[in-house]
């Protein structure tokens, strides 16, 4: 095990590593499934959750599926080389687990029509490219509610990564629901232009704390902001992963990405020969977005309120973007009772009314 991890890490810039159960004698050739990771499983966040799901999938199929991983793959031109490498290595199903792999995935898919691709959080599909995404904004509505109740300075912070729709949905959803329970709340957004850079994430958290923010939400992958929140005695939320090691304070709850059911389903589809291109967007209702335990640092009535909201979203009784809602410039976005269509949401590129500052284009 140790040796395997050592190899995995040493091969950081792109050697394909078979983590499969090579020793098992199999009657049929096992299905080879490839994964491209943005970071390393040790980030404790985004990549960690994908890796947990990958392990769950291997375990579920007990030798019928083996996986290959390339980690630390930058978003951009180099990704194409890594994806090609996985396709050439005989992987029949390839998961590319970050938004920035969208065009590289499409390009490689053209060259390997028999290989199936699954791209996370993107919107471009082809006959052999599916997309899968999670409605993180549903989780943001729940933690936004908690944030609005917990802030004493009425300033909540959001560490943004890149102004892509997923992040903009998260900021809007968190703000709308914080504002709903606390009309005086103000949202401070800091864009760090990276998914993973612990030092910069910590600096951003510190900058917020010094500016009076006392509840921090983040879209970045590491737990660095948690460490700063702990030192300053302010609240924060786990992102992507539970980050339970920072409970009960500063981590008062979390949004957890649970990809395992989806990965198992898609591998099963391959084994059954039923795989078809699709675009799915799964939320709290399907269990892909989970809300981590709300700790005792949160008053019981706030916890109950948050859980009630979660249940309403899960059952489909409530959509986090329900009108009346205005855009930042004051023009009408959604009329009373109206909810947005998915393709409108997946291209969301503006703040809702009340958020200060310009959204980077």
């Amino acid at each position: 095990m140790k040796r395997r991890e050592f190899l995995a890490a040493t091969a950081a810039t792109g050697t394909v590593l078979a983590t499969g159960l090579a020793g098992k004698a199999m009657a049929a050739e096992p299905l080879k499934v490839g994964f491209i990771y943005l970071g390393v499983p040790g980030d404790g966040g985004w990549t960690y959750q994908h890796d947990l799901a990958r392990q769950a999938m291997e375990k579920h199929f007990d030798g019928k599926v083996v996986t290959n991983v390339i980690q630390n793959v930058p978003e951009g031109a180099d990704a194409e080389r890594s994806i090609t490498q996985l396709a050439l290595a005989g992987n029949k199903l390839i998961f590319t687990t970050s938004f920035g792999y969208m065009d590289p995935t499409i390009n490689v898919a053209k060259k390997f029509p028999k290989v199936k691709f699954e791209h996370a959080t993107g919107y471009k599909r082809a006959d052999n490219v599916s997309t899968y995404d999670a409605r993180f904004y549903e989780g943001r509505a729940v933690i936004g509610t908690i944030a609005g109740r917990m802030t004493k300075t009425n300033k909540i912070g959001y560490i943004g990564t890149f102004p892509i729709p997923e992040v903009v949905q998260g900021i809007n959803s968190a703000y709308i629901h914080a504002k709903k329970v606390n009309p005086d709340v103000e949202m401070k957004v800091i864009w760090v232009s990276t998914w993973f850079d612990p030092a910069k994430e910590a600096d951003a958290a510190q900058a917020m704390i010094d500016a009076g923010v006392d509840v921090i939400m983040q879209h970045t992958d590491s737990t660095a902001a948690m460490a700063k929140a702990q030192a300053a005695g302010v609240y924060a939320f786990g992102q992507s992963s539970d980050m339970i090691q920072y409970a009960p304070k500063p981590r008062i709850s979390s949004i957890i990405d649970n990809w395992a059911p989806y990965y198992i389903q898609r591998a099963q589809d391959m084994l059954d020969g039923k795989w078809a291109s699709q675009g799915v967007w799964m939320g709290i209702g399907t269990g892909v977005v989970e809300i981590g335990e709300i700790t005792d640092a949160v008053p019981p009535e706030v916890k109950a309120e948050a859980l009630a909201l979660k249940d309403k979203i899960a059952s489909g009784a409530y959509h986090p973007f329900t009108g009346p809602l205005n855009k930042q410039d004051g023009s009408v976005w959604l009329a009373a009772g109206e909810t947005p269509k998915d393709d409108m949401l997946s291209g969301l590129n503006f703040y809702v009314e009340g958020i200060q500052g310009d959204l980077p284009k």
């Binding site: 890490a9 950081a12 970071g39 040790g42 864009w191 510190q206 010094d210 737990t223």
Partner: protein, 309 residues
């Protein structure tokens, strides 16, 4: 003191914290390069320092021992580089890149089980003096590593400029054949210079994992070592300019985040490129003024030394 919603005192205090890791790594690399070795493995040595320091501090409860272990870890990495390049005469660029990859991999192996642990806090050196207005946070409010980094810059400058050892080191870096002909031990000097560089990079890495973040995360240096390498070049291999370059880089990084927190309407794209642009601009303008001679890349930098006679 506040400007546009940003507290200047807090800003200066936090830019010193943000700049310290790259400054430490850069001042160490400067010495290695002054002796003629180009070690591109700064990133790898930093992250080994980050994890060695973290493990030692957590296991012993002493941040001081943590930093000592970090220096040792970085120096061992550098020794590996020295063995490859000085004894086996391998290509320095390739070996340096390999050292970075090796360091990243080894650190994530060593760091298994250290995720989510809080290291012992590194105390502030002057205690309550740090509570004084203005000068408190800026001058007295730091832990000892910040002062050590400043002392190292001053010490490196003084040793290189005024001592015999510094002269020998520079001679080796400028013309290793001549230095060898005069009887100086080129490989020994370079090995020691590389180890100093490794130790400094290690301490810089530990500053990330023990003070600035503070926690262990795989790959947490996230390119800081490459920034340090660039700063050495743009600083024209001059210690005080390394300090200036690191502080400008760290300062603008911190400032741009604080400008965003203060809600000042400058496009984010400009803000996030600003640290790179401004640091390069300032250092390039400074070195352009005095013509090419002042730029001062050591003449034997990166060249293989083989004592054939």
């Amino acid at each position: 003191m506040s400007l546009g919603g940003i507290d200047l005192v807090v800003l200066i205090a936090s830019l010193m914290v943000a700049s310290t890791p790259i400054m430490l790594a850069a001042i160490g690399e400067l010495v290695a390069e002054k002796a003629g070795s180009l070690n591109l493995g700064v990133e790898g040595m930093m992250i080994i320092g980050a994890i060695c320091g973290f493990i030692a501090a957590v296991e012993t409860g002493s941040p001081v021992l943590g930093f000592v272990a970090a220096a040792a870890g970085g120096a061992v990495m550098a020794l590996l580089f020295a063995f490859m390049t000085q004894v086996l005469l391998s290509n320095q660029v390739a070996t340096g890149l390999a050292l970075t990859l090796f360091g990243l991999g080894l650190s994530s192996l060593l760091g298994q089980g250290y995720n989510g642990i809080k290291p012992p806090p590194t105390p502030k050196l002057f205690g309550s003096l740090g509570d004084l207005p203005v000068v408190g946070p800026i001058v007295f409010g730091h832990n000892w590593v910040v002062y050590l980094s400043l002392i190292l810059v001053a010490g490196t400058w003084a040793v290189l400029k005024y001592t015999r050892a510094g002269l020998v080191l520079r001679a080796v870096g400028e013309n290793h054949d001549a230095a060898h002909a005069l009887g100086y031990r080129v490989r020994t000097v370079r090995t020691l210079a590389l180890m100093y560089g490794g130790a400094c990079a290690g301490v810089g890495g530990a500053y990330l994992s023990l003070v600035r973040v503070p926690q262990w995360t795989e790959g947490m240096t996230a390119g800081a070592g490459w920034i340090a390498l660039a700063i050495v070049v743009f600083a024209s291999w001059k210690p005080w300019r390394v300090l200036l370059g690191a502080y400008i880089f760290g300062g603008v990084t911190v400032l741009q985040l604080r400008l965003q927190a203060a809600g000042i309407a400058i496009p984010v794209q400009i803000l996030s490129t600003a640290p790179y642009l401004i640091t390069i601009l300032v250092l390039v303008i400074m070195s352009a003024r005095r013509g090419r001679a002042a730029q001062g890349a050591p003449a034997s930098l990166g060249r293989v030394f083989h004592a054939s006679h």
